[in-house]
Symmetry: C2
Subunit: 314 residues, 2 copies
């Protein structure tokens, strides 16, 4: 069994509100086939990959909101992607809006093995945005309204032989900016983190704000440093470009356990990047510099779990 697995990031260009599911599935399958023809065994797709990033809209009508959610995974509306992946013997990670039988809504991702079995699921913990719509602006960020906080924590999963028995972890979008999530995954042995995202390229309402260059820099910076500090591979994959009048950064990349970008997208469109990820390259970090058992001092980390907000000295 090889511990070197070929991994792809399948960046998507924008998905407009008016796009049909059939059209989106065709794009996802084309990306999957490109990755498979390049020899990839695992393909990472973006967050909310089947739809536009709908939390930018205030949707008062529950029936309309429901059209963005999947009631099971897989389901007939996504089945062709799952079927094609199994045919090609390629695993994948994909983000979607989840509506559970109990009526709970999550921003979720599923990790599927090359043989079609489900390896794991994850529900986004770090929801950005607000519950109430902001008055007087065209574009919202209503993840806190449409989703509950994820209830899975940050689990890791042992992949199958076909994925080198990699210890796999998942995060979604804003999670990648929070070192706590990475650290919990690393404390559970993670060797490869799959991350999809939709990140604004600028303030769509025209406020004073960072430009796309700084935002793309931030996106890669957190992947690089957290990969290094946790001695893991990371694959971060965007939905990019002008989506329903709002810009999304690209900058999808594959990062090695030294924090170096080994592959990155050049466009804001559908684009596949591929890299051979040697899982044993995590060992140097995990056994030396970041040997947690030898060097961590949790006695002094209490505020991380003991308080939520910041408190400055008088």
């Amino acid at each position: 069994m090889s511990r070197i697995i070929r991994v792809a990031g399948a960046q998507m260009g924008p998905t407009q509100k008016a796009d049909t599911r059939r059209h989106t599935l065709d794009r996802l399958i084309a990306l999957l086939e490109t990755a498979a023809s390049g020899g990839a065994k695992l393909v990472v797709f973006p967050e909310l990959a089947f739809t536009t990033f709908f939390p930018r809209w205030f949707i008062a009508d529950t029936q309309e909101l429901d059209t963005y959610f999947e009631r099971a995974m897989p389901n007939p509306n996504v089945q062709t992607l799952f079927d094609r992946a199994r045919e090609l013997g390629v695993g994948f990670n994909i983000g979607y809006a989840e509506l559970t039988p109990e009526g709970k809504r999550f921003n979720s991702a599923v990790l599927v093995a090359p043989d079609g079995t489900t390896i794991g699921k994850y529900r986004k913990v770090h929801l950005p945005g607000s519950v109430e719509p902001r008055a007087g602006v065209r574009f919202q960020q209503l993840e806190k309204r449409y989703f509950e906080y994820g209830d899975t924590g940050f689990p890791t999963f042992r992949g199958p032989d076909s994925l080198g028995r990699a210890v796999l972890g998942m995060m979604i979008c804003n999670d990648r900016r929070w070192p706590e999530g990475w650290r919990v995954l690393a404390l559970r042995g993670v060797e490869l983190v799959c991350i999809g995202y939709n990140s604004a390229a600028y303030d769509p309402n025209g406020g004073d704000s960072e430009d796309a260059g700084v935002r793309t820099f931030h996106s890669q910076l957190v992947a690089q440093a957290n990969a290094y500090m946790n001695a893991t591979w990371a694959v971060t994959v965007a939905k990019a470009g002008n989506e329903d009048g709002s810009g999304l950064i690209g900058g999808s990349c594959i990062v090695d356990p030294n924090g170096r970008v080994v592959a990155e997208t050049k466009s804001l469109a559908d684009e596949v990047i591929i890299a051979d990820c040697d899982l044993d390259a995590c060992r140097q970090g995990k056994e030396k510099m970041f040997n947690f058992a030898a060097h961590r001092r949790p006695h002094w980390y209490g505020p991380i779990t003991g308080q939520v907000g910041a408190t400055a000295p008088e």
Copy 2:
């Protein structure tokens, strides 16, 4: 009172075992004067700034070991630096080996205000290296032998008006690679983190290892990403160059709350870098993207304080 404070990083070239304290103090004072003439109000010096990085040697004789330690701070052997700083009205952060009246040894740093009063002290939490010397090699890393783990945790301190009432934090060398320390400082409101380091440029014993380029990249990467994720300024300052036959990286830099390097050294010698740090530039991150009270989910961070080492799934 201005919230923009001019800060200097005073990188040192190597300090050889044979160098006299007088010679080293003269260098420190020259760096201080250069920083002051550039208008700096706060100067950050390296870790163990008064001596060579002695943990690279196995020193069996306690009397010899004691010569590297300070029994008080300040003391007659460092007083001229403290006096000159007060004359110039410049605050500073400096690392030293501390021997307490109770006989405890720490890798410490002290933060001194422009008027000469002590703002705070810190004792290094993340000691790298080993307790027992490695057999058959010339160079050791014996911090775990010569020092106790720091017992201060990661406190923050409110600086005086002359430093814009900045919320100040301190870390030492290897601490900067551990996101936990940064996060605890940020949970205590930190706006500027002072860090000194001595970091190997290569394996001095000739083992298979990363080169100085990768190691300098790592040093800057962790400062940049942790400054961004914690919405703080960071000043990281090396002792650099060939010290007693062992190479140390340079790469000292001042990083803004967006994770951008705004000043960095070009040499491996005594060199001062200066930047104007607008403390209010921390506010955007602290109030929006990294508004901890709004977005952190400590319920899922349990393993960070609940376990020391990593445990992978079967």
